[in-house]
Symmetry: C2
């Protein structure tokens, strides 16, 4: 009983902080993309590839979430990307409080895309709003095509689904239809993009969609301003 | 404050139930192996391969843990393996209460190896004892060599570490030394086995070690009895 009560209080408090984050991001012309996936599905690679592809069309920032280490933050920093590492200790997800603190440390160009790389986990991150505009779930062909059936909650939250490591799709005998049927069993099928961070294939469609989301938030003018 | 209190109460209650499970398993000559890994690392395949390899040397049972679906239980049942599926709903791990209920449903041969396939998650399962004898962490070459640095808690709990998908090790540029250094940074290096469930390589060493653990628990006589 106490457990359910505390759980509800935690989620409510988080929603309030997420709303505050959202207002902050809107006021600063920041589009926030919460990237969720299993460990090793390619979150860091996808973020890097996307930023490379978009070049100087937008400003960028990245928040890295891991229980421990700064491995991914170091990768981003080495590429000159503004980055904050959050170490969650024994926590299995990022929450709005952590994001609020980390987000306050950046100087934002206008407009900015902020990628939040959540803790690699197909369960817990789905419950905690961060103030994001978009929730992205990355599956990888090497983790198998049955994951939407086993982890429905995270797919339920997805505004777009990426299948990464498509260069291994055939070798892995990844069943695209079974995967898609699994997602579609949870919700109306969200936009699906098949990419390979290794060979770069499929990035154009994904980045095109993301750019559309940016234009919807910032307006076309903002984009042109950034291009100058 | 309430959150920490509730958390401690939950973990304490779980420990008590885990102890009860342990007594039950000992009384029934059951060796319990808690299998933990990221989604898609090969938990089900490793359990299947191990049971195939051991043949009729022991009796077997499997408890499958997933948020949703009976996909893995159906795979086990199709092979004639006694299996119980636990669906955790929004829970990110199995706990001792769930295991106690599921474990009571089997008729145990003597001696039995019970494999518990935990929810695919490198964070939460590490906190909850189930009454197991052995904790096994399976890494896969496709998820990358940096996971021990990012998810130290689960490696801290490992009595043995398996690296699966070694047939892809070279293609994935999996750095064995970096991986092992990461595990060794958390604890004295536990036994490490490199296997491929796809081509069957490396299973002999792993199964040999597991057999040794069985003999330690059951004594050599029990094994001979089972062989007749």
């Amino acid at each position: 009983m106490a457990r359910i009560e505390v759980r509800r209080n935690i989620l409510e408090a988080n929603e309030n902080l997420a709303l505050r984050n959202r207002n902050f991001f809107d006021a600063n012309e920041v589009l926030v993309v919460n990237v969720m996936a299993a460990p090793g599905a390619g979150k860091t690679s996808t973020i890097l590839r996307t930023i490379e592809y978009l070049g100087d069309r937008y400003a960028f920032a990245v928040i890295e979430g891991d229980m421990a280490s700064r491995i991914d933050a170091d990768v981003m920093a080495a590429k000159g990307i503004p980055v904050e590492q959050i170490n969650t200790g024994n926590m299995c997800h990022l929450d709005a409080n952590m994001i609020g603190r980390a987000a306050g440390t950046f100087t934002y160009g206008r407009p900015t895309i902020l990628f939040i790389e959540n803790v690699g986990n197909l369960v817990c991150p789905s419950e905690f709003s961060l103030g994001e505009d978009l929730n992205i779930v990355i599956a990888s062909t090497t983790e198998g095509h049955d994951k939407p059936y086993k982890y429905p909650a995270i797919y339920l939250k997805a505004d777009a689904v990426l299948i990464n490591k498509t260069d291994l799709m055939e070798a892995m005998e990844f069943d695209r239809k079974m995967f898609c049927d699994g997602v579609a069993a949870v919700k109306p099928m969200p936009p699906l993009f098949e990419i390979s961070c290794r060979d770069g294939s499929g990035l154009d469609a994904w980045v095109g969609w993301l750019t559309g989301q940016c234009e919807r938030k910032f307006g076309r003018e903002a984009r042109k301003l950034a291009e100058r």
